[in-house]
């Protein structure tokens, strides 16, 4: 135990990580007509959160990192008659996610510097979103988990429906209803597991320990419910249709958080809750997970290839990349799970760049239609650089962070002793499609002669508030691409422990 760890434990670091953005949100809502305060306050509060999260990352105790060895834990009674506690704690899987949350929220708020319409509400909602996502990644009580899970919906609903594109109302309601139904199925499963576990405690650790001994039939049923509940959020094909609509209509920062964080919540739920609590059920449904993963990867990639709107292309590519997370989890091997979690982290960094790049295209060139753009690299060299780094990272170029995640996922199928490992050839082949749509769109947008379909006289390179977040993200993409071990060190012990829970062998 380091001194830093003790210090952070003493100041209840996890509660602070929830409280700081919450206070920031409330203060921002009350800034009145002061536009400058409405811009500066959220930056200050989200930066503070980022500093705290970084400290938490550094103070993490590697000597004590197995399953159910949660760190910085806090637990207080909340509703004792139902067995609900305010229980927070993080382990190797959640720590990178919490840090990613703090980073992306800070950068998304910075990126939104030029929002002029109802600034304080916009910024306040972003901070509320941060509260919800932080809570999901840190809570160890099922009930609290559900509450944070639902809190996330509301700011996102408003972000899309107030600051979104032309079809924002349709997209917002669709997003709300889709994910709300999924949450309710999740809630049903939580009820059932709570009562079968004795009806005395919502503690995730307690229910997880009970869960392993449940009858196979019940485990399969519960796993299906959880898989649906979490899967819609990831999203998995065929429950993905809310995602392209939500992304296309959402404002850029909203898309960054939606793809960078909200999708991760679904994957996080699977690996934190569904697989460790119901290992036999998960094993029984391995075929389903693998098929869904492969279909999502293929469908997402093919749909991306067909898009004319840059942002819609990126949205579909998210489906494909979240499929890779699922593919890793489906092996139930330590390598596969660790790589899946790392892919969550990597995709969070990369997709943020991709959506910011789309936002800049909309902002500066006035359109995101790929056929209307062309030769932007002539006038916007920095923009072209960021876009290339993002796209190349996303298609899995070695040396960048995406490769360090995808490669081990594919690799992990070699370890699997099931009859399914030959299927891995399909997603590997789909990498070609991924490369195709990224390189092709880059070619059409950045290179060749300058487009004449739009007025190019006013084109200028990225502004500072756009360049700064993009630069930070690109640096991390390269850094963690060269040093993925820094993050894998957090994930690996937990991945090994979860893998050990699942009964392998048929």
């Amino acid at each position: 135990m380091s001194e830093l760890y003790d210090l952070l434990q003493d100041i209840n670091i996890l509660t602070l990580l929830i409280l700081v953005p919450l206070i920031g949100a409330v203060l921002t809502f009350f800034t009145g007509k002061n536009e400058k305060a409405a811009r500066m306050l959220p930056i200050i509060f989200s930066a503070t959160t980022l500093v705290l999260a970084t400290l938490m990352l550094l103070g993490f105790d590697f000597g004590n990192a197995g399953i159910n060895n949660y760190q910085y834990t806090e637990q207080y009674d909340w509703v004792p008659s139902l067995g609900i506690t305010y229980h927070l704690g993080v382990d190797g899987i959640s720590v990178p996610m919490v840090w990613l949350t703090a980073l992306l929220c800070f950068l998304a708020i910075l990126f939104s510097w030029d929002v002029k319409n109802r600034t304080k509400e916009y910024m306040g909602l972003m901070l509320v979103l941060e509260v919800g996502v932080m809570g999901v990644f840190m809570t160890l009580d099922f009930f609290l988990f559900y509450i944070f899970w639902e809190i996330v919906l509301i700011p996102m609903f408003f972000l899309i429906s107030i600051w979104g594109g032309p079809r924002r109302e349709y997209a917002a309601i669709k997003f709300f209803i889709y994910t709300h139904i999924a949450s309710l199925v999740l809630l049903l499963a939580i009820f059932a597991m709570y009562f079968v576990a004795g009806g005395t405690s919502f503690d995730m650790i307690y229910i997880q320990q009970q869960g392993m001994s449940w009858a196979l039939e019940f485990q399969v049923m519960m796993f299906l419910a959880l898989f649906f509940g979490f899967g819609v959020k990831m999203p998995i094909v065929p429950f993905h249709t809310w995602l392209p609509d939500a992304h296309v209509e959402a404002p850029t920062a909203g898309s960054v958080l939606l793809a960078g964080l909200l999708l991760k919540m679904g994957a996080y739920g699977l690996i934190r809750v569904a697989i460790p609590t119901l290992p036999a059920g998960a094993r029984e449904l391995q075929w389903l997970i693998i098929i869904v993963a492969i279909v999502s990867i293929l469908y997402g990639a093919l749909a991306s290839l067909a898009q004319k709107d840059l942002k819609k292309m990126v949205a579909f590519s998210s489906i494909s990349h979240m499929g890779i997370v699922l593919l890793g989890f489906a092996t139930f091997s330590a390598v596969g799970i660790a790589a899946g979690v790392f892919q969550m982290f990597a995709h969070g960094l990369i997709t943020a760049v991709l959506f910011m790049v789309c936002g800049v295209a909309q902002h500066i060139a006035g359109t995101r239609e790929i056929p209307k753009l062309g030769g932007l690299a002539h006038k916007m060299p920095w923009y072209a650089t960021f876009m290339m780094i993002g796209f190349l990272a996303s298609l899995g170029l070695p040396g960048l962070v995406g490769f360090a995640a995808e490669m081990p996922v594919f690799f992990s199928y070699g370890f699997m002793n099931g009859e399914w490992n030959w299927l891995i050839l399909i997603p590997i082949a789909s990498v070609v499609i991924t490369a195709a749509y990224y390189i092709w769109s880059m070619q059409r947008v950045l290179f060749g002669p300058l487009t004449e379909k739009i007025d190019t006289h006013h084109l200028h390179d990225v502004s500072w508030f756009e360049a700064a977040p993009l630069a930070v993200l690109c640096i991390f993409i390269i850094f963690f691409g060269l040093q993925p071990g820094l993050i894998y060190d957090y994930i690996r012990p937990v991945a090994e422990a979860i893998s050990a829970l699942v009964p392998m062998g048929v």
């Binding site: 139902l82 509450i147 509301i154 107030i162 709300f176 809630l187 049903l188 009562f195």
Partner: protein, 504 residues
């Protein structure tokens, strides 16, 4: 000398109610009358709270075997008094341009007295008297604006339906009375219509030629109470009445009277007719699902906010009805948990739905219409009121961590609890499923109002809701947020009430 503890809150409230018109005439002030009525509510509440503080959970005090004060009835007396309290505060400005305000407050207090009688009733006749006291007062209150055509139409409709349903219910009661006379050996005490005696007689009647009579009585009681609660298919009157009544009275009907009907239903079925539960649990379960589904589906297409909220009240009654079959299971822990869910949802619903109606009432005093479209851009015009409305609507939809989420959670999880208990209750799983799907559906029309308030652009002028109404809305707002953040004492109170209700 008899122990008056149980009846003191009722006496106090009735006296204050009867004297209210005199206070209006002598004091010549609406404000003084409202304060007088409020004082009656507070004094009555004081006696109920006094009972809470001086007796431990599980204890009961009865008055001559007619009315009982226990942890169940005390909780609901407090609920009804809170509803009366916020309705009176809101009315201070809502009816200040009307005549006959003395009678208005008198009727509110008498209606509340009737509800409290129902909560405490130990026999069917007392129950019926309580229901009638409330109903007759409410008919007059709905018609309070004599010159309003819609109000008069609503009151006429309400009166005819109400009188009919009372007659049907009374017929059911008289049949049960006849049944008790067939089995004098199982009766205890001189009053054959106490719920215990009815329970014993019904139990004895099972398998005898009297069984069809009991069955007929049960059907008549479902129909009679079904009208009062506006269960589908007896719900047609509710939207018209809710829309036509003065909105403060609508709040009272939705938050108070409806709960009274549900309590009466619970008392008759869970204590009186528990012996024949195999006959009615499935029926009630089906009515519950039908009621919530029809209410929500119709609410989606409403353009009038009051009608939308009325249909949503119908749906909410359907949710609460889930508790009835769940509370009939034989395991006492599961039964009391399920029942507590029903009670809890009645309490939270009283505040969130009452609050929503009060907001409509408050805004109508400053010339904001009562249609969903009139709420466009409200967030700019009245930020706090819009925020309160959003909280009420999200709470109704069951978004955490608001009050409505917790009560729905206890309610639906009660059904899951009964489902996993044993094979016979397998179908109860569908109660929870139906409740959850309906919650998702209801989110659609609640979100539409929120969207109008926050996303759409509307008139630019600011509006200020009168102070008194803002205070009443504030009470509901604080209750919804407070129960949401710290539900523990409320859940515990509902569990105590369920234990007292089921006598365990």
């Amino acid at each position: 000398m008899a122990d008056y503890t149980a009846i003191l809150p009722l006496i106090v409230l009735a006296i204050f109610g009867i004297l209210a018109p005199a206070v209006r005439i002598l004091g010549k002030s609406d404000k003084a009358t409202a304060i007088w009525a409020l004082a009656g509510v507070l004094l009555s509440a004081f006696f109920v709270i006094d009972f809470y503080l001086s007796y431990p959970p599980g204890s009961a005090v009865d008055f001559e075997g007619v009315v009982e004060l226990n942890y169940f009835s005390a909780l609901f007396m407090l609920l009804f008094l809170s509803v009366a309290g916020y309705v009176i505060i809101a009315s201070l400005r809502y009816v200040d341009k009307e005549k006959h305000t003395g009678e208005y407050y008198a009727l509110i207090l008498l209606a509340t007295t009737g509800m409290m009688v129902v909560a405490g009733a130990l026999d069917l006749i007392t129950l019926f008297v309580g229901i009638e006291l409330t109903s007759l007062s409410s008919y007059a209150l709905v018609a309070f604006r004599k010159t309003s055509k819609r109000g008069s139409e609503a009151a006429t409709k309400y009166f005819i339906i109400g009188a009919l349903s009372s007659a049907i219910g009374l017929f059911g009661i008289s049949l049960l009375y006849g049944v008790t006379a067939q089995f004098p050996e199982v009766l205890v005490g001189s009053n054959p219509l106490t719920f215990e005696n009815i329970g014993a007689a019904v139990s004895a009647a099972m398998g005898t030629p009297m069984e069809p009579v009991v069955f007929l009585a049960a059907v008549l009681l479902i129909a009679g109470f079904g009208f009062k609660i506006a269960l589908v298919p007896f719900h047609m009157w509710a939207p018209d009445v809710y829309e036509g009544a003065p909105t403060t009275i609508t709040a009272m009907l939705a938050a108070g009277s409806k709960k009274m009907g549900i309590i009466a239903l619970f008392k008759v079925f869970l204590i009186g007719l528990i012996a024949m539960k195999t006959d009615w649990t499935l029926l009630i379960g089906a009515i519950a699902i039908l009621t919530m589904t029809v209410g929500n589906v119709i609410a989606v297409s409403q353009t009038s906010l009051k009608r939308m909220l009325a249909y949503s009240s119908i749906a909410q009654a359907g949710y609460i009805l889930i508790a009835l079959p769940v509370a009939a299971v034989s395991d006492p822990t599961v039964a009391s948990y399920g029942l507590a869910g029903g009670f809890f949802h009645m309490i939270t619903h009283a505040f969130m739905k009452g609050g929503a109606f009060l907001i409509v009432a408050g805004l109508s005093t400053v010339a904001v219409g009562e249609n969903v479209a009139d709420y466009k851009g409200l967030a700019k015009r009245a930020p706090w009121i819009a925020f309160a409305m959003m909280i009420m609507l999200f709470s109704l939809a069951g978004i955490p961590p608001l009050a409505g989420f917790w009560s729905k959670y206890v309610l639906f999880s009660g059904a899951i609890d009964a489902w996993q208990l044993n094979e016979q209750n397998n179908w109860m799983f569908w109660l929870a499923i139906a409740g959850i799907l309906n919650s998702a559906l209801s989110l659609y029309y609640y979100a539409r109002v929120v969207k109008n308030m926050y996303v759409e652009k509307g008139p630019q002028d600011k509006v200020r809701v009168p102070m008194a109404m803002a205070v009443a809305i504030g009470i509901c707002f604080v209750a919804v947020i407070g129960i949401g953040l710290y539900p523990q004492p409320f859940i515990q109170a509902c569990l105590d009430a369920a234990h007292a209700f089921l006598g365990i």
